[in-house]
């Protein structure tokens, strides 16, 4: 009983904290209703589809293939990304390139985003800096699994 009474102070402090939050936030909400702009907002919520949070520069988002000057991918189909990929979601098919400097180019380059774990190993492994994860596109959803299979055309965009 004594112990329970000892907690009484903390109980009061707890309700003071929550009610402080309530009244301070309500104050800013009401200011907003009356059209008064304040630096502080009543809520920290970012209302996602309308407002978007700025993505950090190093954020790993959807992959892209870096094109050359002629618009073809810089990739030389060395298969390092497909080898290092832990979720085995990259499929590369090489073909011979008449250009002697390149020698090979990917005739197929497929990433199954549904399997990708966004570890970024493919980006690190690439010797040609041909694949990057800097598109800033994080809204990757599809109605079927096939929607999530990204091929060469989609990745070069």
């Amino acid at each position: 009983m004594i112990k329970a009474l000892g907690y009484f102070v903390e109980i009061i402090r707890g309700i003071l904290i929550t009610s402080r939050h309530f009244f301070v936030n309500m104050f800013f909400h009401i200011l907003k209703v009356f059209g008064i702009k304040t630096k502080r907002k009543g809520a920290v919520t970012i209302q996602f589809p309308e407002q978007k949070k700025e993505i950090a520069a190093r954020h790993r988002s959807l992959h892209r293939l870096v094109p050359n000057k002629d618009g073809k991918p810089r990739c030389v189909a060395c298969m390092l990304c497909a080898t290092v990929c832990p979720s085995e979601c990259i499929y590369v098919e090489a073909a011979e390139d008449p250009n002697l400097e390149m020698q090979k180019y990917p005739s197929k380059f497929i990433i199954d985003i549904g399997r990708c774990c966004f570890c970024g190993f493919c980006v690190e492994a690439c010797p040609e800096d041909a694949i990057r994860m800097d598109t800033g596109n994080i809204e990757l959803a599809g109605y079927t699994r096939d929607d999530l299979v990204y091929d060469l055309d989609k990745l070069l965009k």
């Binding site: 009983m1 329970a4 309700i15 309530f22």
Partner: protein, 359 residues
């Protein structure tokens, strides 16, 4: 004939008030918790693109619950399983009949009290009906034929019965001070003045009784910090096997209990519809001077003030629910039996001593 019509209208109005408030209490709960936690809360429900800070959310919730499958587990006792939420709901909903919303009004020859039924034993009636609500809990726990819900139901019954004792005992002091069980006369008596300026409300005469009643009543509503019977997130509670509208009835019962507790706190400890210094013909300030008003203005004042008090206590209970973590079961029982019941007994003895000295 006309008497029956008046009673019917009163029932409809009181139930509409009760259910609408229940509906919007769900909205208030979501919004208030959001504001406490620096969020915005449900604001997406819209009709034709109009979304007034999420005020349509309760309707969206209700429509969703109505269209859900009415699922009954295969091994449950189907009749009891179906009837349990209705028992819970009914015994809470009926308590509104004894709550006085305002002073009696005069229309022509007739005097109409703003209360469905003015029982001689109104207070006991409300307490009894709230106790009977336990049947809903224990039946739902038992008839689901699931060991976890059975344990949840037993926990709920044990908790409610323990706190029922403190709830009843804390009111004895109040009944000693205002010698009546009739809620309308309880409120009438609270309209008098103490030392010429202080309204003679229950809170001023029975502060300890108020605290004990508040805690016991919070435990009666089965919400955090006393939410062991349901415990949405961790422990499995008594209505685990329910879905759709039956689950919704249990949820509504919770919110209706909040309102009933708020109305009880208002009626018993905060003067019900009484406004300080407002007599039947207007304000009589204690420092002299008057501010006379028409009788209908006074009635509107009474009902509005009653509503404001009730809203305040609903708000307070939701604030409490979003502040405190859950009790452990032994702490819960200790708090009820070792703290609240002795305190209420002390309150009874103290009230008796003070009354015998003053008399």
């Amino acid at each position: 004939m006309i008497e029956a019509l008046i009673v019917f209208i009163k029932i409809v109005c009181a139930l509409a008030w009760f259910l609408l408030l229940t509906l919007y209490l769900t909205w208030l709960e979501r919004k208030e918790s959001a504001v406490i936690q620096d969020r915005i809360g449900a604001n997406r429900a819209s009709i034709f693109g109009i979304r007034i800070i999420g005020l349509f959310q309760p309707f969206a919730d209700a429509i969703k619950m109505i269209f859900k499958e009415d699922f009954v587990p295969a091994f449950s006792r189907k009749f009891l399983h179906t009837i349990a939420p209705f028992i819970s709901f009914f015994f809470v909903a009926i308590t509104i009949s004894a709550i006085p919303f305002g002073d009696s009004i005069r229309i022509g020859e007739r005097t109409i009290s703003l209360q469905i039924l003015d029982f001689n034993v109104g207070l006991l009636f409300i307490l009894a009906m709230l106790s009977l609500g336990i049947y809903g809990i224990i039946l739902s726990g038992w008839s689901s034929n699931n060991r976890y819900t059975l344990v949840g139901g037993l926990r709920g019954a044990a908790q409610l019965i323990s706190y029922e004792v403190a709830l009843g005992l804390s009111l004895i002091g109040l009944i000693m001070v205002y010698p009546s069980l009739k809620l309308s006369s309880l409120v009438q008596l609270q309209g008098e003045l103490l030392f010429g300026f202080l309204p003679k409300w229950g809170i001023f005469l029975q502060p300890l009784g108020f605290i004990v009643f508040l805690f016991a009543a919070l435990a009666e509503t089965k919400r955090a910090p006393f939410d062991l019977p349901e415990a949405e997130s961790e422990i499995i509670g008594f209505f685990t096997e329910y879905g759709g509208l039956k689950w919704g009835l249990f949820m509504m019962t919770d919110f209706m209990e909040i309102i009933i507790v708020s109305t009880l706190l208002t009626t018993l400890f905060f003067g019900g519809w009484q406004v300080p210094w407002l007599a039947a013909d207007g304000f009589h300030w204690p420092w002299g001077g008057e501010w006379l008003m028409a009788p209908w203005v006074v009635t509107v004042f009474h009902v509005a003030v009653f509503n404001i008090k009730v809203f305040f206590f609903c708000w307070l209970q939701i604030l409490i629910r979003w502040t405190y973590p859950r009790f452990r079961y032994d702490q819960l029982m200790d708090f009820g039996w070792k703290l609240l019941i002795p305190l209420s007994l002390v309150n009874i003895i103290g009230t008796g001593i003070v009354m015998s000295i003053i008399r």
